[in-house]
Every structure is written in C-alpha cells, then in structure tokens.
C-alpha cells in the first residue's frame, strides 16, 4: 500500500447480470488533488463512484480510501468522505437545517455553523423543506451536506449540473479551499468544461474502461492554436512545409490558415514574419476541442460521445 494515495482503485470491475458496467479500472488520487472523471452518459462514472462509496459490491478488484476497503470497511471510509450523489435525493419533509442536524448526528459532529456559512455563500435558505427546493437548490444542499464535515475526500457525481454559473464559481472556490487544506476530490462530469478549471488530472472512461489519464497541464500543452494570416502577396503551401505538428494547412492565394500545437508556434511565426503581413490572428482552441479530437470522440455523436455542456441526459451507469 502506498501511504499517500488517498484513493486507489485496483482492477475494479462491476457486472450487473450479464452487462459489464465497469471493467478493470485502476487509478490513484493523491492528497490535495482534484481528479476530473469524464465520460459519456452510461460509461461507468456513477458505477465507479458508488463502488467507492460502498453502495455497490465490486465483482472483482478493490477500491481503497487511505488503505481502507470501501466495501468491507465502509463505515470507516465514510468518516473520511463527503459524497454528492448523481441525482441528489433528500428527505422531502425535512428542511435544510434538519438535514444538517441529521447528518451531523450520524457523524457525531456539530457542523451547523459551517453549514450555515456555506448556505450563505451558495445562497440557499436552510429553513425551507426539501420538497419546495428547485433542482439547483437541492444540489446546493447536497453539496453543503457533503462539504460541511470537512472530509479528506469529496466524491462528487456531476455536482454542478443544474447549478447556475455564478453559483458554480462559488462551488469551485469552496473546492479550491478544500484542496488547499490538503483535501482531495473525485469530480465526475460528462463535460470537460465543467472540470477543467478545477481538475489537476482527468481520467476518461468509455464503455466501462478507463481509456486515458492525463495531467490537465499536458493536455493544455497539446492544445491547438488556430492560426490565420493574410499576406501582401501570394504564398505557397510549400513555404510552410517542414514545421512539425502543423495540421489542416490551407493556402488560398494570399490567405493562410492552419492548426498548430504550442510547440510549433515559434517556427511558424518566424516563417510568417519573413513575409509582409497584412493581418494575423492566433487563437487557442477550447480545451474541449483538443480533448475531443485527441480521443477521437465525435462531438455530435450519439450515446458514445462526450456531449457539450447542457446537452444530454444523466449517467445511468
């Protein structure tokens, strides 16, 4: 056992009857790290998370939190973990305050003060019964219940879906404070945009398999820049040949455009500036596009695709 790994999944698999929801997933999450867990709906994100939470029994493999088995030692694990379920269900008849009181009692803690502060920041009225809360407000209450006990690990299944962007920022701030104190988080989403601001690493799961784990910095380094230039006189494609990594080169008379990785920018600029330039434009493509093209996932594709923000249903897996 590696002492510092907060979460360690080792060949974790889960079958429901004949269908394999999760197939041999191994990964670690270190202290202070936010791990973005990405994948299309039904890919196995929720299954992974519910295995970590001890709600499901692994078919094979193990999931450990600080060396504690999440199935056999679930009570000890839950002392260390705050959890926002994918479809946060609350007790309809209880108010926010009563939810806080119940969970505090079950944790043998008194977190009422911190819960009130969090509710204030997120703009949630804890006096209202859960059944009267909108989807976004239910999500906020679920986040408060998960965060208030200052757990070592936050396990968040699409925590910001249904929350408006301003509140998402508050949530991100809360998450950053949590990691600044040495806490870790597993943050699932079907949209990269939702996790790229907070995640240190991302893992991509497709059809129950972990297909990639990547530092977000590395992904950003590979991000492509859209370069467009217009010259005073005609140019030829051959003028830009031999620059490594250049893609989609398009030359039409005096116009030139291409996609270039960061590493190619220096060489490209020198070739461009060797000529008389009328206009020049260089824009970084959204990380989302880089990510999609890198993993060959069709942006508009069906069930198999990582869908853009706002689209698509919920992860059933």
């Amino acid at each position: 056992m590696c002492a510092e790994a907060l979460v360690r999944l080792d060949g974790l698999s889960k079958r429901f009857g004949k269908s394999t929801a999760l197939d041999g997933v191994s990964l670690t999450i270190e202290a202070g790290e936010v791990f973005g867990y990405l994948g299309p709906n039904g890919a196995g994100k929720t299954t992974t998370i519910r295995l970590i939470m001890g709600m499901l029994r692994p078919t094979s493999g193990t999931a450990k939190v600080l060396g504690l088995d999440t199935w056999r030692q679930s009570v000890q694990v839950h002392r260390l973990v705050g959890y926002v379920p994918g479809e946060p269900a609350l007790y309809d008849r209880l108010t926010g305050h009563q939810h806080v009181a119940y969970c505090s009692h079950l944790r043998h803690r008194d977190d009422a003060k911190r819960a009130a502060q969090l509710a204030d920041r997120l703009g949630l009225d804890l006096k209202r019964p859960a059944r009267t809360l909108s989807r976004g407000n239910r999500q906020k209450l679920a986040v408060i219940l998960a965060v208030m006990s200052r757990p070592r690990l936050l396990v968040l299944d699409e925590p910001t879906s249904g929350i408006d962007p301003l509140v998402q920022q508050v949530f991100h701030a809360i998450l950053l404070e949590h990691t600044a104190d040495g806490g870790s988080a597993l943050f699932s989403s079907h949209v990269l945009g939702e996790v790229e601001r907070v995640a240190d690493r991302i893992g991509v799961v497709r059809r129950g398999k972990l297909v990639a784990v990547e530092r977000l910095q590395d992904l950003a380094a590979r991000s492509l820049h859209q370069v467009r230039a217009r010259f005073a006189e005609d140019v030829a494609a051959a003028d830009f040949a031999g620059i490594p990594g250049l893609r989609d080169v398009l030359v039409d008379g005096r116009s030139f455009s291409c996609s270039a990785p960061q590493s190619a920018l220096d060489a490209l600029l020198k070739r461009v500036s060797a000529r008389q330039v009328d206009d020049f434009e260089c824009a970084e493509a959204p990380l989302e596009d880089t990510f999609l093209s890198y993993y060959g996932i069709d942006r508009n594709g069906g069930a198999d695709a990582v869908v853009p923000a706002g689209a698509g249903g919920r992860d059933a897996g």
Partner: protein, 266 residues
C-alpha cells in the same frame, strides 16, 4: 428528534402512527357501543352455534361465548379486525424500512454517513417494533377504558397479555417484511409475501381442527402462538412468546446479513 436513524424513522411515522392510533380508538369504541345490544340478544350465541363448523372456526375462537365480555371481544375484535389492523401497520412499516428509502433514492444519502448497514436495519426494526407495541397498547387501553363505560368489563392484566401476543404477531410478520425488504430492496414483494403468508397462517390455525394437514402444522403458525391458548382468559403463554421472539431474532439477523451482502439501488 433527528439524533439517530431510529429517532428519524419514528419521526417519519409520527403522523401515520397518530392516525392509526385514532382509528384503533374509534374501532374499539365501535365494538364497545355495540356491546349492550349483543349482550341483550342471547340468540346471537345460538346464531354462532348454528354456523357451519368451518365458519365458526374461522371467526370464533375456541368456543367463545358471545354473551360474556371476553367472548365477545375475542370473537369480534381479536379474531379478525385486531390482527388485520396490527399486521397492516407492521408489514407496511417493515416493507418500507429499507426498500422505501431506496424507492425514494435517499439510501445513498443515509449510508454515505458513517452508519453501518446493520445499524440501519436494527434501527428500522426497532422503529417498526415500537410502533407495533404502541398501537397494541392503544388498543388495550381503549378496550379497558372504553369497555368500562358500557359494562364491558375486561381484566386489565389479561388484556395486557393479549396485546403482548398481538404485538408479537405483528412484529413477526413485520420482521419478515423487513428481512425481504433488506434482502431484495423490493417494497412490493416485501409487502405481498408476508401479507399472503399471514392469511395462510391464519387459515391454518383456524381450520386446524377440521383439516388434518393443517392440524399437523398448526403449531408453526404465528396465529397459534397468538390466540390458540386463549390469552384473554389464560394470560401470557411464555412458550408462545419464546417462539415468537426467536422467530423475530432469526428474521432480523437474516435482514442484517441480506442487506450487508447486496448492492444498494441508486
């Protein structure tokens, strides 16, 4: 009120228990109100004597006499309506205990706290058992107090003994419902199977004197532990209590094991 799973479950049942209690007070009041009429009509006893034997076994236990308070209550309340009311509550509470939270998707929230699954099952069981005992206590107190108003004099100690047996009958089937709920998470099955079994157990016990096959298994029926020894006249049958308690302990243990082994529905 929210200090534990037990307290929370009882709190959830608060309104329902209040409604059940009021209904039972009214039910007993109804029987008490009819008592003077029944007492003054000796032909009622003849009517029962003339019933076919199978019918008499079903509705009238061990040759009770309708013209005495104990006989009247035994036939009218304890043989039928009383057990039905208590079983409805206990089976409903047992079946909803685990499966109900899963149906409402709140089990993830509950179990994400450091509470063991065994603890959850035990607390849900205790809530169901306390609720059942509360309802039979309400019924017993109503019988004694409301009976006094209409000269339906019942010995309080024997009423208490009968209610103990009635509560245990409820808790046995409630624990069965809980075990099914914990083991399968399916509320419908957890309600249906114990309800059908209760009807079957009732018929087995009632018709045992007539049907040879039933006679051999009569003692297995929880209704046998409840009423066969005539608790309203004989008081507590400790062997019956022991059988019921043992059954409950086994069923609760199965519930804990069943819930610990399976996946929780999202």
């Amino acid at each position: 009120m929210l200090a534990s799973v037990l307290a929370k479950t009882l709190r959830d049942q608060g309104r329902s228990l209040l409604a059940w209690s009021l209904s039972l007070v009214l039910l007993v009041a109804m029987y008490a109100a009819v008592w003077p009429t029944v007492r003054d009509q000796p032909s009622m006893g003849d009517f029962i004597d003339q019933m076919p034997e199978a019918f008499r076994s079903m509705f009238a236990t061990s040759g009770a006499d309708m013209s005495t308070p104990t006989g009247y209550i035994q036939i009218e309340l304890l043989s039928f309506m009383g057990p039905i009311a208590v079983l409805l509550y206990a089976i409903g509470a047992g079946a909803g205990a685990i499966g109900g939270e899963e149906d409402r998707h709140t089990m993830d929230l509950l179990l994400s706290n450091p509470v063991g699954r065994g603890r959850v099952v035990l607390d849900k069981f205790l809530a169901m058992a306390l609720g059942t005992f509360l309802l039979t206590a309400v019924m017993g107190v109503s019988l004694v107090l409301e009976g006094k108003l209409v000269d339906l004099e019942l010995p309080p100690d024997k009423v208490a003994a009968t209610m103990l047996h009635l509560a245990l009958l409820g808790v046995v089937f409630g624990a069965l419902a809980l075990a099914l709920s914990a083991g399968t998470g399916k509320t419908g099955v957890s309600r249906g199977v114990p309800a059908s079994l209760a009807v079957f157990a009732y018929i087995v016990n009632a018709l045992a004197p007539l049907v040879e096959a039933f006679d051999r298994v009569q003692k297995v029926s929880p209704f046998f532990q409840y009423i066969a020894h005539d608790p309203l006249r004989q008081g507590v049958a400790w062997d019956g209590v022991a059988v019921s308690v043992t059954t409950v302990v086994v069923l609760v243990a199965l519930a804990v094991v069943g819930f610990r082994r399976r996946d929780v529905a999202a």
